[in-house]
């Protein structure tokens, strides 16, 4: 009865692994690749362990089930020190083997990935607000909302923070996630090695609009990127504080581009209160979502796109 179980397991693995490209196992940058290697390493070890346990279980169940002609019954066995040591030491060895690459990768991910071009990392401040992502390029002095353009083959340092609740910045194909929290700043290095559009999202629950808190990462060639920056600097509208405060309301918005950044007047990693204050300034009042007389619609409709 257990064989069918194993075959089901194996079959599912095969179908699922060959059938579709799983985002995490299909990395498009050095950070995600390191993580993918680690994941595969652990999968191999874990698969062996599962196999051993399943085999032993099936073997014992078949051999020692109550049946006629079963004469290998010994009710008084109560232990065996050698065996105990064996199955204590082997897991310790496995855990040790897995520890080294884990720790090395943890430390590696704190640093900028090695770039093909020896460029300084591009710094982008990513700020989460309910329920949108705001990207500020301090060097270039431009700001985007709900999409971010990065040059390929150049490390990007995302400095993450939040205007209100804690979110998590995640672009599966480029690398693992990191929290963004108001009043704090977390750093995350990512790098794309191929041109393309990668979907990113908030993966930490932030309330009602959480499911749609997505953004696109466009990885483009460096010259194109520079041209894009220039175009924005010259053509995009200026972000005013009033306009920015509107982003602090719990709504969904489309994609926006601005020719300056909100860092001019607030850095949420040092000012945790700004987001909620901005809501208050605009007369927003939190309401019990279960009260029947809901005054304002709870999730704002998508606003149109700017240039």
């Amino acid at each position: 009865m257990k064989q069918s179980y194993i075959s089901m397991f194996g079959l599912l693995c095969l179908i699922l692994l060959s059938g579709c490209n799983l985002a995490v196992l299909d990395p498009q940058g050095p950070v995600a690749s390191q993580q993918k290697d680690l994941i595969w390493l652990s999968i191999v070890f874990m698969f062996i362990i599962v196999l051993i346990v399943f085999t032993l279980l099936v073997y014992f169940l078949v051999k020692y089930r109550e049946r006629k002609g079963h004469d290998d019954y010994d009710p008084d066995i109560h232990g065996n020190n050698k065996l105990e040591i064996l199955w204590t030491v082997i897991p310790i060895i496995i855990v040790t083997i897995l520890s080294f690459p884990t720790v090395i990768t943890i430390f590696n991910l704190e640093e900028a990935p090695e770039a093909e071009s020896d460029r300084e990392p591009l710094v982008i401040h990513a700020t989460s607000a309910s329920w949108k992502w705001i990207f500020s390029y301090p060097e270039e002095d431009i700001q985007t909302v709900n999409y971010v353009n990065i040059p390929v083959e150049r490390p990007v340092l995302f400095k993450l923070t939040s205007a209100d609740s804690m979110a998590s910045f995640w672009v599966p194909q480029l690398g693992g996630e990191s929290y963004s929290m108001a009043g704090m700043q977390t750093e995350l290095y990512l790098q794309a090695s191929e041109e393309g559009t990668y979907s990113g999202r908030n993966s930490n629950f932030t309330g009602e609009g959480f499911a749609d808190m997505r953004f696109d990462v466009h990885a483009i060639e460096e010259p194109q990127f520079d041209a894009w920056v220039k175009e924005i600097q010259e053509g995009a509208p200026e972000l005013t504080q009033e306009r920015y405060d509107e982003f602090m309301l719990p709504t969904h918005v489309g994609e926006y581009t601005f020719s300056n950044t909100h860092l001019d007047w607030v850095d949420h990693s040092t000012d945790a209160e700004y987001g909620l204050d901005a809501r208050e300034r605009q007369g927003y009042e939190p309401e019990n979502p279960n009260a029947s007389d809901k005054g304002t619609p709870r999730v704002g409709d998508e606003e149109g796109k700017d240039s």
Partner: protein
């Protein structure tokens, strides 16, 4: 053994010793904090060590932790509690203050 000593001696030596020691330890900790020239880290370690000693004194001298047939369980419970206390208090501090990049730009 503990039972004997506590009912035989009519003068509360244990308690007086505990009381004097607790005052002395408090005073020493205060002096270290006020007047010593050690590094901050050393002072912190010193005063907290003194606090632990004093807590142990209370447990042993006043609370008779190790007496009766439950002595071992009681002592075990307190030792594990001390482990938990260190994990919770020190661990939280380590994770949230030393570890995280509390980037205050200040």
């Amino acid at each position: 053994m503990a039972e004997k000593s506590m009912s035989k001696s009519h003068f509360p030596w244990k308690h007086i010793f505990g009381y004097i020691m607790s005052i002395v330890l408090t005073a020493v900790a205060l002096l270290i904090a006020l007047y010593s020239n050690f590094a901050v880290r050393t002072i912190v370690i010193l005063i907290f060590s003194l606090a632990f000693v004093q807590a142990a004194l209370q447990l042993l001298m006043f609370m008779h932790m190790t007496e009766s047939s439950n002595g071992k369980i009681q002592a075990g419970s307190m030792l594990f509690a001390a482990f938990i206390a260190i994990v919770v208090a020190l661990g939280s501090y380590w994770v949230l203050e030393f570890g995280i990049h509390l980037n205050h730009h200040e």
